[in-house]
């Protein structure tokens, strides 16, 4: 009998049913997580306010700071744009066209995520620096005179390197979105008279928007906190100013004031992401999914192939080859070999093991802590829950050294039993990489119908039992994807590790730094290579999952 079908069903499934009372226990748990995340902010506020007026005056009237801020914003814009273009372009070519070798490229293009940008920068510097680089020298010996080559230094060099090693965030997210997209969506657009170009802009791209926004956010925040890589490439950003206050002056108040500026920028970026994200929900239709037809590239086939090959060469094949070459030369030289294996009180196996267990534990903790935050945000959408979820993501924009100093101040005074143990390093990893875990958990929970939890309740399970017997088992793949990402980035984390590690506790990243910092690249290479290889394990898991924090797509 022809009553219009109601859409209450829809509401329940997308958890839009309004809730009155937030579970107090869940709120308390999420609040505790937020309190933990607030440690660096508390530190910044205390240090910034104990500095006195003259600190503010000295900092705020400085032209140099304004220039550095501008530098940072320019770099951030260029890198984010570059990563978006590269990421989406590569994803489109490998997912939607008949690109030769697309199945292999799918892997190769995601793998640069495991190469720390500073290692990439060292390799590209060694290759490209204008007179001493291997490529200019090779060209000079071939042509008998210097041939001008693009410089890896300055704004464009830094943007080039950072883009190469951050675009995989965008690539992974948009690749998953391309794959999940219904062919019917684009077909519908075509049936309304749009050509394929219009369809891409009006239908495809908006559908990718949440993934792109999430990817762009990670890239932008990453760039904001970046110091080591850009310093190596001789481009000064706002982080350089923070370091200048800490190095030499030991002026932690000024450093805190400046860190506050970074926090403000991060808040702006997070806010912008919400704007871009909009209110649209991209609920996946489960039935009748079929992949869209591949676009034949025709005469462009080999041009596209060369382009993709170029990107994966610059971001993966060349760095890995160079690292392998250096490693081999280090292993062949007995003196260098001895240096590689000698480390404080420990050997090679030991610091590889340290890297593994500390990053794994950080991943586990970050995921565990992200669950109450994500659960609150997904099940009780509102201002408070959204605030807590966003708050947990601001820390990503803070330079690792600021997070490390805040933990040093807190730990040495109030947690003496923990201070000077690797747990402090792990805490720093968790603080820095919470956003990845929160996002992944949130995305996973959003896909889980709350009725499943309600079903468990009506079948006699308490809310806690429901969490462990129904919710977590069902969202586990999504949680693991977040964990893999935290693991990956913790493995690479350097400044916080250097500062917080107990004496004698080395990780792979530390070993790379110890040698690379003094310019001994061959000695640094084996650890760097191992770092890349170890990172490939969680990444392969991510790739098989195909949808890391693929928000609402």
């Amino acid at each position: 009998m022809g009553r219009p079908c109601n859409n209450e069903s829809m509401q329940i499934f997308t958890s839009q049913r309004p809730r009155t009372a937030i579970s107090p226990r869940l709120l308390a748990a999420a609040g505790l997580v937020a309190l933990f995340v607030a440690i660096p902010f508390g530190y910044i506020i205390i240090r910034a306010t104990t500095g006195g007026m003259e600190v503010w005056v000295r900092l705020l009237v400085s032209d140099r700071l304004r220039d550095l801020l501008l530098n940072t914003l320019i770099l951030m814009t260029v890198v984010t744009t570059g990563a978006l273009l590269t990421g989406v372009g590569m994803a489109w070519l490998t997912e939607r066209t008949d690109l030769p070798g697309r199945n292999i490229f799918r892997w190769l293009l995601a793998l640069p995520l495991v190469i720390p940008a500073y290692i990439g920068a060292i390799v590209h510097l060694a290759l490209l620096r204008s007179r001493g680089g291997m490529i200019p020298q090779a060209l000079a010996s071939i042509f008998g005179e210097a041939v001008p080559t693009p410089s890896p230094l300055g704004l464009w060099g830094a943007a080039f390197i950072l883009t190469l090693f951050t675009y995989p965030y965008v690539y992974l997210l948009s690749g998953a979105a391309f794959r999940n997209m219904h062919a019917s969506m684009e077909e519908a657009a075509r049936s309304f008279g749009r050509n394929s170009w219009q369809t891409f802009w009006q239908v495809t791209l908006p559908a990718l928007r949440p993934g792109l926004a999430a990817g762009a956010l990670l890239v932008a925040l990453d760039t904001l906190a970046e110091y080591g890589t850009v310093a190596l490439l001789r481009y000064e950003t706002f982080s350089s100013a923070i370091f200048a206050q800490l190095y030499g002056r030991f002026d932690r108040s000024s450093a805190a004031v400046l860190s506050g500026v970074l926090v403000a920028l991060a808040v702006l970026i997070l806010w912008a992401e919400i704007r871009v994200h909009g209110r649209a929900r991209f609920t996946q239709m489960d039935s009748g999914w079929r992949p869209a037809a591949l676009l034949p590239l025709g005469k462009w086939k080999w041009a596209a192939f060369l382009l993709v090959l170029g990107v994966s060469s610059a971001s993966l094949l060349v760095p890995v080859s160079v690292l392998t070459f250096w490693s081999v030369s280090a292993l062949l030289d007995p003196q260098a070999l001895a240096a590689v294996f000698r480390s404080g009180s420990q050997g090679f196996g030991n610091f590889a093991w340290n890297s593994l267990w500390s990053s794994s534990l950080a991943a586990l903790l970050a995921v565990a802590l992200s669950i109450p935050v994500a659960l609150l945000a997904v099940r009780y959408p509102g201002h408070l829950s959204r605030f807590i979820s966003r708050f947990c993501q601001v820390g990503y924009a803070l330079p690792g050294v600021v997070i490390a100093l805040s933990l040093t101040a807190l730990g040495s005074q109030y947690l003496p039993f923990m201070y000077g143990t690797p747990l402090m390093v792990i805490m720093a990893y968790v603080l820095r990489h919470m956003p990845q875990a929160v996002r992944a958990s949130q995305a996973a929970l959003e896909r889980l119908s709350p009725t499943l939890e309600e079903a468990a309740r009506t079948l006699g399970r308490s809310s806690l039992q429901t969490l462990f017997q129904v919710t977590i088992p069902l969202v586990l793949p999504g949680l693991l994807a977040g964990g893999a990402l935290v693991f990956l980035t913790s493995l690479k984390e350097l400044p916080a590790t250097l500062l917080l590690r107990p004496a004698g506790f080395d990780t792979l990243a530390v070993r790379v730094w110890v040698w690379a910092d003094e310019g001994f690249y061959a000695q640094a290479a084996p650890a760097a290579l191992l770092l890349v290889l170890v990172s490939a394990i969680p990444l392969s898991f991510l790739l098989r999952r195909e949808q890391i924090f693929n928000e609402r797509s």
Binding site: C5, I12, P18, A21, T451, E454, A455, L459, G460
Partner: protein, 357 residues
């Protein structure tokens, strides 16, 4: 004792224009099936969720088997209420087999007892051969029955069903509701059933409760609801009626298509509306008639004609005859009910017996 008592239950979501559940009271005797029916957003699902304990009431009291489970000072969480629930999307746990899903509610039983029960209940719903299948390996109807079996397995004092058939195809829906009603009756289960489909409500419910905008419009047996709607809304929602305006007069009710000899205890000239179903009206072709035939809808055994009266009022007329009248024909419409008709004044039913001709 009643299996369920609801007393002055209220629930208002923040931001909602009107209360989702507004001062509702009703009772359900043991062994009966109560269908909560109404349009989208009427509060029927919220009422069900309040009973389940998935929402907290703002005010009022809920008793299950005489025991208070929610009041202004008390809130028993869902897992302690002993109710079973069948969800709209079935909400089967995808990580458990059919048997695993059914056994989920039997955690307090011993392993062997639980297995025995699972077998018994699955054979009751006819799925003993599919016990080891995962939800995604089952058809829609099979999933539906697993969900029912899962909810029934712990022998709940009260079974709650939230639009359980809405995700099924039309054919399957008809088949399933017969099966489900059969199973519930066989188990003498007490159940509350939410639907927006009035036909399904009439079929499934021993009693019906019609909701609108958080209000309970009418509670009663299906026949009572259908034939003696207490409000215009119930008549409209349950009966697919047209509403013909008229005025009370001494002889009955004066309308555009004649006087209905059904006197009301109302002052002369009071405006009323008569609920007319398609079989309460008839017409004959007449070039001087008061209506024109707009459209003929073929319904197999009979035709339904859509008429437009000169005032613009529309009426539906069911003609059992094979004879066909073309659209555009002018006709004289008249009331031909043979029984009292439901009449409403200001939306509420007005009593009055038809006077034999």
């Amino acid at each position: 004792m009643n299996a369920l008592d609801i007393l002055q239950l209220c629930k208002h979501y923040p931001g909602g224009a009107y209360p989702a559940v507004d001062n509702i009271s009703l009772s359900l005797p043991d062994g009966e099936i109560l269908a909560l029916v109404g349009p989208s957003g009427c509060g029927k699902t919220t009422t069900l969720r309040l009973v389940a304990g998935l929402e907290r009431p703002d005010n009022g009291e809920i008793r299950i088997n005489g025991e208070v489970v929610a009041s202004n000072h008390l809130f028993v969480p869902p897992e302690k209420r002993g109710v079973g629930m069948v969800f709209q999307e079935h909400a089967l746990f995808p990580h458990l087999t059919a048997a695993g899903n059914v056994a989920f509610g039997l955690q307090k039983e011993s392993r062997s007892k639980s297995q025995e029960k699972v077998r018994a209940i699955l054979s009751l719903v006819g799925l003993e051969n599919l016990a080891e299948r995962y939800p995604h390996e089952l058809s829609g109807g099979e999933r539906q029955r697993v969900a029912l079996a899962r909810a029934l397995a712990p022998e709940p004092v009260l079974l709650l069903m939230d639009e359980p058939f809405s995700s099924l195809d039309a054919d399957l829906r008809l088949e399933m509701r017969e099966q489900v009603r059969g199973i519930l009756k066989a188990m003498r289960a007490t159940a509350v059933f939410v639907t927006h489909d009035q036909e399904e409500a009439l079929y499934m419910g021993d009693r019906l409760a019609v909701f609108q905008r958080g209000h309970l419009e009418q509670v009663g047996a299906p026949e009572e609801i259908f034939h003696a709607s207490q409000t215009r809304f119930v008549a409209e929602f349950m009966g697919n009626s047209d509403f013909l305006p008229g005025q009370a007069c001494a002889a009955g009710i004066r309308t555009e298509i004649g006087v209905l000899p059904q006197p009301l205890g109302l002052p002369e000239g009071t405006p009323v509306e008569i609920a007319l179903r398609a079989d309460d009206v008839d017409f004959e072709p007449d070039t001087q008639g008061n209506a024109v035939i707009v459209e003929r809808l073929f319904r197999g055994a009979h035709n339904v004609y859509r008429l437009k009266l000169d005032s613009g009022q529309r009426l539906h007329v069911m003609h059992p005859h094979i004879q066909i009248t073309q659209a555009g024909t002018r006709a004289r419409a008249f009331i031909n009910a043979g029984h009292s008709l439901a009449v409403f004044h200001n939306g509420r039913a007005v009593s009055g017996e038809i006077r034999p001709k």
